[in-house]
């Protein structure tokens, strides 16, 4: 890796077949090492296609996708790319292959031909990083959805990736499972500097990202920090996307003339700003 640009999309277009209209057309984006980027967009917008292009599951029809310095067009590099950019999918039950948790984590390593004595510590470290060590010998079907997703993440971690791509990894989980999985990935992002591409329908998850890409009709329509994106309430609604409840409320209050600043995303932000607006001298001290 010579540059800190870890994922580079240069004028990328992709169509599933020649007859149909392109799923993505002329997309350019770059993601730096250690960034946590959320991707929003409704079903059919092209966001999953984007993820699969980065993982070299798809090869662009036009343009280039470069992951960790490797061009996905080069067939010889496919396994290098997949080892570095691991992917988690929506359904926890579709990505567990083994009957024992630690064997499931070993699956990727076995495919890479990692020697057994090196494999064991890597599996242990990976399970410990997702706080699943005590389930190493459990059967996956006894785990909750959130725990299964963490095992899937451990399977990727064992391969020592630079990038984790999560394609709606929390969509089928309950609120506590969602929190569990998101917190695990955030922690890996912060402590290990793993780059994260987080595709989601949950606006409150996107609000925690460093940067948000909004994909509709195969194009990147909006790009910016969560604060910048979620202040554009009307535009988001037009694209049939939500904004976090506090951003929507702030927008309503502003429409009535209340002088609230932009970038209100959480309850804490809102409490602070309401206090500032209603008790100016108090919050100044």
């Amino acid at each position: 890796m010579q540059t800190d640009e870890q994922i580079l999309l240069q004028d990328v277009s992709f169509a599933y077949d020649e007859a149909s209209s392109p799923a993505l057309s002329h997309i350019s984006a770059s993601i730096r090492q250690g960034e946590f980027v959320a991707v929003l967009g409704h079903n059919g917008s092209g966001k999953s296609t984007l993820a699969k292009l980065i993982n070299a599951l798809y090869i662009p029809g036009e343009g280039n996708v470069v992951v960790c310095g490797y061009d996905t067009k080069d067939e010889k590099l496919v396994w290098e790319i997949r080892r570095r950019a691991g992917m988690i999918f929506q359904n926890p039950d579709n990505q567990i292959v083994a009957t024992v948790v630690k064997e499931d984590v070993a699956f990727g390593l076995e495919n890479l031909g990692v020697p057994t004595d090196e494999m064991i510590p890597r599996i242990e470290q990976a399970l410990s990083a997702v706080r699943m060590s005590k389930y190493a010998d459990s059967a996956p079907h006894t785990l909750s959805g959130g725990q299964k997703q963490r095992v899937a993440i451990a399977g990727i971690l064992a391969m020592q990736p630079s990038v984790i791509i999560a394609d709606e990894a929390t969509a089928m989980l309950d609120p506590s499972g969602r929190r569990e999985v998101l917190e695990t990935v955030q922690m890996l992002n912060r402590s290990k500097g793993i780059t994260v591409l987080w595709i989601t329908h949950f606006m409150e998850e996107a609000a925690l990202a460093d940067r948000v890409l909004v994909v509709t009709d195969g194009k990147i329509q909006l790009e910016g920090t969560p604060a910048q994106i979620f202040d554009r309430v009307e535009e988001m609604k037009e694209m049939h996307l939500d904004v976090p409840p506090m951003a929507a409320l702030a927008n309503e209050l502003r429409k009535e003339g209340m002088p609230l600043p932009g970038g209100i995303l959480t309850v804490e932000d809102m409490v602070q700003e309401v206090e500032k607006t209603l008790c100016p001298s108090k919050s100044a001290t």
Partner: protein, 297 residues
């Protein structure tokens, strides 16, 4: 149509070492015409409970009474009862199987032995309820549709039975914001216009805040609390103890009250909190103009 659950206990794998009690001595009712929300952490017993409401599971002990009659009584026609109490499972689109949307929706009424005209009429009605255009979609394969559309076809299959009570287990799980909104508007309309009694299990407190007329909170196989959304969402501590959150608007109301702002304790809808914050702001402006200050804080 009303349903009453009396002292219901359900144990899975009864009489084995794996015995687990999913429901313990549960008492609850579904009142005619209400929109009842059932909330609870995973494993709290919600899905087991709704499967008892139309007799899909048999109680280990206790009773389920439909309009006063025991659902598991000897002389009850459970087949007819299940037509009147429709249950939509989680991810119901996995159960679609027919060649066309219309055939899939017609499956239930056809099995009921209804005449062809009646079946056609029911399919049209059900498609209208779920906001799928008959001309455009009836002859399409359900497998070509988007996830949200497939789910609406599956729900239409239950609506075509014209149930008096419609029970849905997490009807919006896994959908994008547009798909979620379409399902919720459709349920809102079905409740308001067709007066269908609706029972919905959901993890989304914001969805419940929008739709439910009453809530039941489940925890560890028991009913922890019941009440209007206003009563339930005002109890942040109880909700947290059940592993649940409250809508963000309710948390904001709570946090602002702790800071000493003059707000009612039980606001949970965005519109109402907006009005109250605006009121505080306007009062403040008046005070600033008339030279008085700080009285708010």
């Amino acid at each position: 149509m009303s349903i009453e659950v009396r002292n219901l206990t359900h144990a899975y794998s009864e009489a084995t070492a794996m015995r687990t009690v999913a429901l313990e001595d549960v008492c609850m009712t579904v009142e005619d015409g209400e929109f009842l929300g059932i909330i609870g952490h995973t494993g709290s017993g919600k899905s087991t409970l709704v499967q008892h409401l139309n007799g899909l599971l048999k109680p280990t002990s206790g009773q389920v009474l439909v309009d006063g009659e025991d659902l598991n009584g000897e002389h009850v026609n459970r087949r007819i009862l299940r037509q009147r109490i429709g249950l939509v499972f989680q991810y119901p689109e996995y159960q679609l199987f027919e060649e066309t949307v219309a055939k899939d929706i017609a499956f239930g009424p056809k099995n009921q032995g209804l005449p062809k005209e009646e079946i056609d009429e029911r399919v049209r009605y059900a498609m209208e309820c779920v906001h799928l255009d008959f001309q455009k979609y009836s002859e399409r394969s359900p497998f070509e549709l988007s996830g949200g559309q497939m789910r609406r076809v599956a729900i239409a299959g239950v609506i075509a039975m014209r149930p008096s009570v419609l029970i849905l287990d997490e009807p919006t799980a896994g959908l994008d914001p547009r798909g979620r909104d379409q399902i919720l508007s459709m349920l809102e309309q079905l409740h308001a216009e067709q007066h269908t009694t609706i029972v919905m299990v959901s993890h989304s407190m914001d969805d419940m805040a929008r739709l439910a007329t009453r809530l039941i909170v489940m925890a560890e196989g028991k009913v922890l609390a019941t009440g209007t959304p206003r009563e339930i969402f005002a109890q942040e501590k109880m909700m947290l103890s059940a592993g649940l959150g409250i809508p963000q608007v309710a948390s904001l109301c709570c946090a602002l009250r702790k800071k000493g702002f003059d707000l009612p304790p039980d606001l949970y809808r965005p519109e109402e909190l907006k009005e109250h914050i605006l009121r505080l702001w306007q009062n403040k402006r008046k005070e600033v103009l008339s030279g008085k200050e700080e009285s708010l804080c």
